[in-house]
């Protein structure tokens, strides 16, 4: 069981900055995120795009903002449970919360801060008849362990980076790799596109474009797919395969959090703007996941919300302690790793 002071659900910029503000109050944080890396949308959707409204940064790439936040919070040694989605929450007798992920990892904390953005990123599933029946029986939307595909006949669908990169990788693992895309053009890093081209030329990747998987066949498990290949005359191809991996990107869904008994409005969690607490005391919601009159979904607003949330969380954990906010310029930053950052002292020295 992972124990911490503030359990943050969502490792986007708001969740990451909350670690810093909590650290100044000597509170420890642990973050859960469904994605395999920190940064939320900034890392997953637009790492190479610039942001112009972070105070003090005339221009910063979303990916760099995440890297800077990770550097800023490093001394506070946050824990991470990545690639897992927070599924259930339970209030224990001592008033603390127990949050369990889809993989069964348990987290215990007196404070839960939901910084979940638009929700957890789930794979976008193609609209193919009976695809649900074949999930885990030959159909998978993620590649967790490529070894699973050793010496198997794999078909990947999609036209983005992940479809290209996995086709390249699996060309050396699987017995046969087929890549199906609706267009002849692929959107990906230039060297990935070129690599797929050369693997196709030597017969290691079987490319079918412009085409679409429209049906699945097999009893009990996937045995073949039906491919519709467009051209002057549409052609139907039935291809025997062992595994079908559609890679059409991710889309965020509020998911299980919607069933936690929190007040929800417009796909967001209602909070009190005094401290961004939800209708359940001890559970806060900060950043894009919350809503209140006048709400703006901006990173800079998330930073503010995270800061006030931490003050309130401190009071909840230590109701009897007196505390006065201190400027970092005055108090410095003392990390849990023993590091100490502080403003250099002025020198008092006579000039001859």
């Amino acid at each position: 069981m992972i124990k911490t002071d503030i359990l943050i659900i969502g490792a986007g910029p708001t969740g990451l900055f909350a670690v810093f503000e909590a650290g100044l109050l000597q509170l420890k944080c642990h973050l859960i995120d469904a994605l395999p890396q920190a940064g939320g949308q900034c890392s997953e959707i637009y790492p190479k795009k610039p942001i112009y409204d972070i105070p003090g940064f005339p221009e910063v790439l979303a990916g760099d903002l995440v890297n800077n936040l990770m550097e800023q919070i490093k001394a506070f040694q946050p824990g991470f449970t990545l690639g897992e989605r927070a599924n259930t929450i339970e209030k224990l007798e001592d008033g603390t919360f127990l949050v369990t992920t889809n993989k069964g990892t348990k987290h215990n904390a007196p404070i839960v801060a939901i910084a979940g953005g638009l929700g957890s990123f789930e794979p976008r599933k193609p609209l193919i008849d009976k695809i649900k029946d074949y999930e885990d029986k030959g159909v998978a939307y993620f590649i967790k362990d490529p070894e699973v595909y050793r010496n198997r006949r794999v078909l990947i669908a999609g036209g983005g980076d992940s479809a290209l990169d996995w086709s390249i990788f699996l060309a050396d693992v699987a017995s046969e790799v087929t890549l199906v895309h609706r267009r002849n053009e692929f959107r990906g890093a230039l060297d990935s596109v070129e690599k797929v081209q050369s693997l196709k030329n030597i017969g290691k990747i079987n490319l079918i474009t412009p085409a679409e998987v429209v049906g699945l066949k097999g009893s009990g498990k996937l045995e073949a797919v039906v491919i519709n290949k467009s051209g002057e005359q549409d052609e139907e191809i039935i291809k025997e395969i062992d595994d079908f991996i559609p890679l059409f990107g991710l889309s965020p869904k509020l998911g299980p959090i919607a069933d936690w008994g929190l007040e929800i409005e417009k796909n967001a969690i209602k909070v009190d703007t005094f401290d961004y607490q939800t209708n359940i005391p001890g559970i806060y919601a900060i950043g894009d996941v919350n809503t209140y009159p006048g709400k703006l979904k901006l990173i800079l607003c998330g930073f503010h919300e995270a800061t006030l949330m931490c003050q309130s969380a401190y009071q909840r954990i230590f109701p009897d302690k007196k505390y006065v906010m201190k400027y970092t310029t005055v108090g410095g930053v003392s990390g849990f790793d023993g590091s100490k950052k502080e403003a250099p002292k002025a020198v008092v020295k006579a000039i001859d």
Binding site: I45, Y46, L118, G119, R124, R182, R183, R187, S251, P252
Partner: protein, 109 residues
Amino acid sequence: MSDVKIKIKDRDGVVHEVDAPTDMNMNLMEIVRSYELAPEGTIGICGGMAMCASCQCYVESDHQLPEMSDDEDAMLAEAFNVKDNSRLGCQIHITEDLEGLEVELAPES
């Protein structure tokens, strides 16, 4: 600068005729959101970067629309429920040329 009238059929099939300002640097996705014609969190997820297709719509009138960028074209190649008249609302800037535009929102996916 004036407003233009745009007809938007929502995902439940209800047609709304709305006034869209041409002087606010707005796009069609933002018009849909400002009139709350689709629930928050189901449209404009990427904020308008042509990176999620949640604002996909079908253009039903024969207006001359700005040409598709490579980003929009590639995104639509990976989206679902795509038709020949599919566009991403976030890539359609509201201008005076769009008076009388008719669109239908694509299903949520």
